[in-house]
């Protein structure tokens, strides 16, 4: 086995590992609200989301081969690697991909440990940008588009990440306000479970869309590595095993459930009711799919978080602004830090050189992952305690609600929403 082949194997394993972290890091986007309002039991929620991610991944018939083209000049327009980088059996391209994936995984794991919902796609593209800049020089980075469409680091990452939460907040706020206006006079006669149905429906759409979009990216990166090393030639199709393995990895990751992040998004930011949850999830699904249809790159994480926040604000529910602040910090730092890690990994791999260099990068990644995993066991968060009361009540800084109890959800007392956090789906019959 020559150097390029060994590196290729490491790239494939690392790509699947990234896909796996992508799964559990983003479970919260679809399911946090449904879990926190009791629309779905935690295990059922992650199981449903995993199955739908798998379905979504298999719907990815189209090859997302040009995924790195958004930020670096590694590939040509049709998705093949730049020919001048293909000396040494594609080792140069492979190392950039490996280092980029490693950078993305490192940041995904670190933010998971902290329970912060940061964007997996920003972590991936950040890692690749850093590794690309280190391997190709600054000229290898695509900062902005050519004026015909939003592209590059500025147009696909920086600007959308600032504007997407605002859109999501506006949509969820409006939806939540409207839903409450219509139903508040008859709230005592409506059952929470009807809102939970709406919530589960929209959360399911988000899960399928996630499988389609995100698994496609990993499949694209894996196929790029195969082309670079001469094991695949088509730029319009991908190997069946790539599709199967990537789909399985993202679904398995989703089923693992990033409980820390689910907890932060579902309980830590704002305590929402099923009506608010339906508005939030409806907003997430609609904004994501509209953006997908209109070709506007948005991060699922930013949209989901904005929607939960909007659903809370639409009903005047106290928001834990300190949690919101930590999330925003994580968003702002995801791309640059993943880029730094990607660059560092590339530099290490390149300094050592060859297959040994790639192996060193892989071992560093494995070591760090083990350390993160061990650290995570010190403070267990799982399906059993994901919905426990968020203790840091003092963090609520919204002056209007200074004295509001954490479990209470604003000014309405016409139903039993105060218990929504732990409530099982109501089994009431209507006839």
């Amino acid at each position: 086995m020559d150097a390029a082949n060994i590196t290729l194997v490491l790239v494939i394993v690392t790509a699947l590992a990234f896909d796996f972290t992508n799964g559990f890091h983003d479970t919260a986007n679809a399911m946090a609200a449904s879990i926190s309002t009791g629309a779905l039991k935690p295990k059922v929620a992650v199981g449903l989301s995993a199955v739908l991610n798998l379905v979504g991944a298999f719907l990815s018939v189209q090859v997302a081969l040009t995924v790195t083209n958004a930020v670096i000049n590694l590939q040509t327009k049709d998705g093949a690697p730049n020919p001048e980088l293909l000396a040494d059996g594609g080792q140069a391209v492979l190392l950039i991909i490996l280092a980029g994936l490693a950078g993305g995984i490192l940041w995904n794991l670190f933010t998971w440990l902290l329970g912060l919902p940061s964007s997996s796609s920003h972590a991936l593209l950040g890692g690749l940008t850093g590794a690309g800049a280190a391997g190709l020089g600054w000229a290898g980075v695509k900062w902005s588009g050519d004026g015909t469409k939003l592209d590059g680091v500025v147009g696909k990452i920086l600007l959308p990440s600032m504007i997407s939460p605002v859109i999501a907040i506006a949509v969820a706020f409006t939806g939540c306000w409207l839903v409450h206006k219509v139903t508040e006079s008859v709230m005592h006669r409506l059952e929470e479970r009807y809102f939970r149905y709406g919530q589960v429906g929209s959360a399911s759409l988000v899960s399928i869309a996630h499988g389609t979009n995100d698994a496609q990216k990993t499949m694209g990166v894996m196929t790029l590595a195969l082309i670079a090393s001469g094991h695949w030639t088509s730029t319009t199709s991908i190997p069946v095993w790539v599709k199967f393995s990537a789909a399985t990895a993202i679904a398995a990751g989703t089923y693992l459930g990033g409980w820390r992040i689910i907890r932060t998004l579902g309980k830590g930011l704002v305590d929402i009711t099923p009506r608010q949850g339906m508005s939030s999830d409806g907003s997430t699904a609609a904004v994501l799919l509209s953006a997908s249809h209109l070709g506007f790159a948005l991060s699922t994480t930013h949209v989901a978080t904005g929607s939960v926040l909007g659903g809370g604000l639409g009903r005047g529910t106290p928001v834990r602004w300190s949690t919101a602040g930590r999330m925003v910090t994580a968003w702002a730092t995801t791309f640059p830090i993943a880029a730094l890690m990607g660059a560092l990994m590339w530099w290490i791999g390149d300094s050592v050189g060859g297959a040994v260099g790639a192996s060193v990068v892989f071992l560093i990644l494995a070591g760090f992952s083990t350390w993160i995993f061990r650290s995570s066991r010190r403070e267990h968060v799982g399906a059993d305690n994901v919905n426990d009361e968020w203790e840091k009540a003092a963090e609520i800084t919204s002056p209007a609600y200074e004295h509001a109890p954490v479990t209470h959800t604003g000014d309405h007392t016409d139903d039993d929403e105060a218990e929504h956090g732990r409530a099982e789906p109501t089994e009431t019959k209507t006839h």
Partner: protein, 101 residues
């Protein structure tokens, strides 16, 4: 167009579509639930179970509204499937169809 114009154009389109579907459909769904309470008598028995019998006209109207919501979900699914197949959804015929990009 410069980047800022492109951004504002894209963002405003997403905002409008998001409001129509993301706020509009939950609203329609809530109206359907509200309609079901019109003309019906409801009471809660001691165990907290709610019993009510909506009028037929309310039921029909609510069914119509729910159908609108279901249609919205179908459009959403079509967009996901189209993305997976590298195609896009066209509204040129008013009703959505999946077409080549």
């Amino acid at each position: 167009m410069n980047t800022l114009q492109l951004l504002l154009k894209g963002a405003s389109e997403v905002l409008v579509a998001g409001l129509v579907f993301g706020a509009g459909l939950p609203f329609v769904y809530a109206v359907a639930l509200r309609v079901l309470t019109i003309g019906s008598t409801a009471y809660a028995d001691p165990s907290g179970e709610i019993h009510s019998t909506p009028r037929m006209s309310s039921r029909l109207f609510a069914a119509l509204l729910i159908a609108v919501v279901v249609a919205g979900i179908v459009v959403g699914m079509m967009i996901i499937v189209a993305t997976g197949f590298g195609k896009e959804v066209s509204f040129a015929n008013i009703y959505p169809t999946i077409v080549d990009k």
